[in-house]
């Protein structure tokens, strides 16, 4: 999979989402439960706003000194006997990983959930090289055996599937004979995957945060698959977006608290692990540890007006409160990063060419900005994207003409006055029962989902009424 998960038009993708009733009800109940759990976990911590400010400060300080901390990290990984590869592009990153795997003559790879490995299309590269690659996170595993169905949520990737769909896939692909209870399905996956862990030559994980002064990475999980991936195989390759780093364990601890509470409403998830190359005398853990630090467009964001987007800790809280995500679902974004943060970073990583609609997939209600544990001004960044898209003339020509006409009309008192006077007679043919029922592009987009009242007659307008009142008061 790559950043892009669906090449169809945005409108086609959203119509599909809107028509998928199961998905919509799954997303709305997941949102409701995650929202409630996040809120109670945030309240429990006490003074959540202060914690958010601290989170923001940590992220901003680290980004401001990113070269320093990455260098410290690399030095410390090296001191512990590990390897560090700085990859400017996704191609560099995935071919380095392929080379390591080839060098090890590895055939069997286990992987724990990582968004950045999707971004660099690592799975495809490794499978093309003839490796068996197994996603071990339960949600990701379900998607993999269902012919690599794309994820629809950054924390709960298989959110769009129900238990009977999963049971069917397990039956077809794994010879599963049990019922559709999540517990039995999970037990079956445990049995199948346990064997995969024990046989694997290489384990590949993402990285929630790298810890600069330790030369280690931090993984935050609930299932324990990340730990098995980094404990059993003799080689561990960890892949990180270059901005996912903290100075020390103290900052990690604060961000992990914000992450767990914001993502799933837990105080801490079941497994939070700090890990690096195996130390002398330790008999498991990787004999060889590789850390791949990925730029892939991030340095273009650094120092730009979108800099704050790099503060993201991938908790998914913004997805869980977004009214647009609620209705169109994750797949409609056409990116491995959906929801508000996806609408901000996908166009930055993938360009406006394929993703210019995403910043408009927002009601600008700012619920995302409110919940962000590291205070990314998400809705402001969406507005900024919209400005750039309009400035670069990437909107359709008919929309530009309509906007220009509206602009001219609204900036001239005479024209505006005339428009008000003629609005009612002019809209008569387009209206029925006081509602506009047809019209050009922008109007049509609006009335597809909402009512638009027909403008009132001049003599019934508020202005006329007010003028009459004024007259009355003066008398």
């Amino acid at each position: 999979m790559s950043l892009q998960t669906d090449k169809r038009d945005f409108s086609e993708r959203t119509s599909e989402g809107l028509g998928d009733n199961f998905m919509r009800s799954a997303v709305s109940s997941a949102q409701d439960s995650l929202k409630t759990r996040r809120l109670s976990a945030a309240t429990d911590l006490g003074d959540w706003e202060q914690w958010r400010s601290i989170g923001q400060q940590i992220r901003q300080h680290t980004l401001k000194n990113l070269d320093y901390y990455l260098e410290q990290l690399a030095d410390n990984v090296e001191k512990k006997g590990g390897y560090v590869y700085f990859a400017k592009t996704k191609e560099e990153a995935s071919s380095y990983i392929r080379d390591i795997v080839m060098q090890k003559k590895a055939k069997k790879i286990v992987k724990s959930k990582s968004m950045v490995t999707e971004e660099i299309e690592m799975n495809r590269v490794l499978m093309d090289a003839g490796c068996e690659l197994i996603e071990t996170d339960l949600g990701e595993y379900i998607l993999q055996i269902d012919d690599w169905d794309p994820p629809s949520h950054i924390v709960a990737p298989a959110l769009h599937k129900d238990r009977s769909q999963i049971q069917r896939v397990f039956t077809e692909k794994l010879g599963y004979t049990g019922d559709e209870s999540p517990e039995n399905l999970a037990r079956h996956a445990r049995t199948v995957l346990r064997q995969k862990f024990l046989e694997a030559d290489v384990g590949i994980t993402g990285c929630n945060f790298a810890i600069a002064n330790m030369g280690a990475i931090n993984l935050v999980t609930n299932e324990g698959n990340g730990d098995l991936t980094a404990s059993i195989p003799k080689t561990h390759i960890a892949v990180m977006g270059m901005e996912r780093i903290v100075p020390t364990l103290e900052e990690m601890e604060i961000l992990d608290n914000l992450l767990c509470r914001s993502a799933v409403g837990q105080k801490l998830t079941s497994y939070i692990t700090v890990m690096g190359p195996s130390a002398t005398g330790e008999t498991d853990g990787p004999e060889e540890f590789h850390l791949v630090v990925v730029d892939n467009g991030r340095s273009e964001i650094l120092g730009s007006e979108f800099n704050e987007a790099l503060q993201c800790i991938r908790c998914g809280a913004c997805l869980n409160v977004c009214p647009v995500y609620r209705h169109i679902g994750g797949h409609a974004y056409g990116s491995i990063y959906p929801g508000p943060i996806g609408a901000v970073i996908t166009p930055l990583l993938g360009g406006y060419g394929d993703y210019k609609e995403l910043p408009f997939a927002s009601s600008l209600c700012a619920a995302c900005t409110d919940v962000c544990p590291v205070k990314i001004p998400l809705h402001e960044q969406l507005i900024l994207h919209r400005q750039r898209i309009v400035e670069e003339k990437r909107t359709s020509s008919s929309e530009r003409i309509q906007m220009k006409t509206a602009g001219r009309l609204l900036s001239s008192q005479t024209l505006f006055g005339k428009a008000l006077r003629f609005a009612n007679p002019a809209s008569r043919l387009l209206s029925r029962h006081g509602r506009i029922i047809k019209g050009p592009g922008l109007v049509r987009g609006w009335i597809n989902a909402r009512d638009l009242s027909q403008p009132v007659k001049q003599q019934d307008s508020f202005r006329t009424w007010l003028d009459r009142r004024k007259g009355g008061a003066n008398q």
């Binding site: 400060q57 300080h61 098995l228």
Partner: protein, 223 residues
Amino acid sequence: MTVYGKESFLNTIAAKLGRERVYDVQRPDLRPLIPNSYGSLTNDDLIEILKEQCYFIHTQLIESNSEILQTTLNDLIHANGGGAVITSGDDRFLHYGLSFPNSFVWEEAAGREENLLRSEAANTAIVFADYALAESGTIVIESRPDQGRSLHFLPTNYIAIIEKERLVLRSTQAAADLNRRVEAGEPVGSAINFISGPSNSADIEMQLVVGVHGPLRATYVLI
């Protein structure tokens, strides 16, 4: 060469930040900013907080003491359905005079394959916590030659013994202490685990399943 492509990568970053590379940075002291919503707490208060949290994380908490610890553990092993036991090589097993039939110890001499096989075959793992965090119901434990990483994940049942004096309020205290050791150059295990209960997943219809890849059950024994 063990580090590739660093200089030009980091130079790009510095250029994007509109400055020269930096080589000396002081991280801000965040401690004065951290809210203290609990006030001062006694060890008994911490135990109460831990007990309550264990309920939420599907973890059984048993209060025992050094005299009856062996019996408590025997009962738990029995309740797990018996089978093989694997322990870490922690000195405290000796200190408390603990021993178990049909048991193995994770040891350097056994080597990788053997330690993994023993853990996979074990029905119950028993370890001693380095720290315990009351608020989140977490035990903190480091990898060592006599305590591998997989020990916490391969066995079906997991028992962690917590000595009361190792109980602190939350992750803040454990992280500060561990970082102090890192900064002082003291050796720290290549893996530090913060474990809060058994493995679990909500990937199918957001319904919680306890016991996925790691242990199916977790028990803390407080002494």
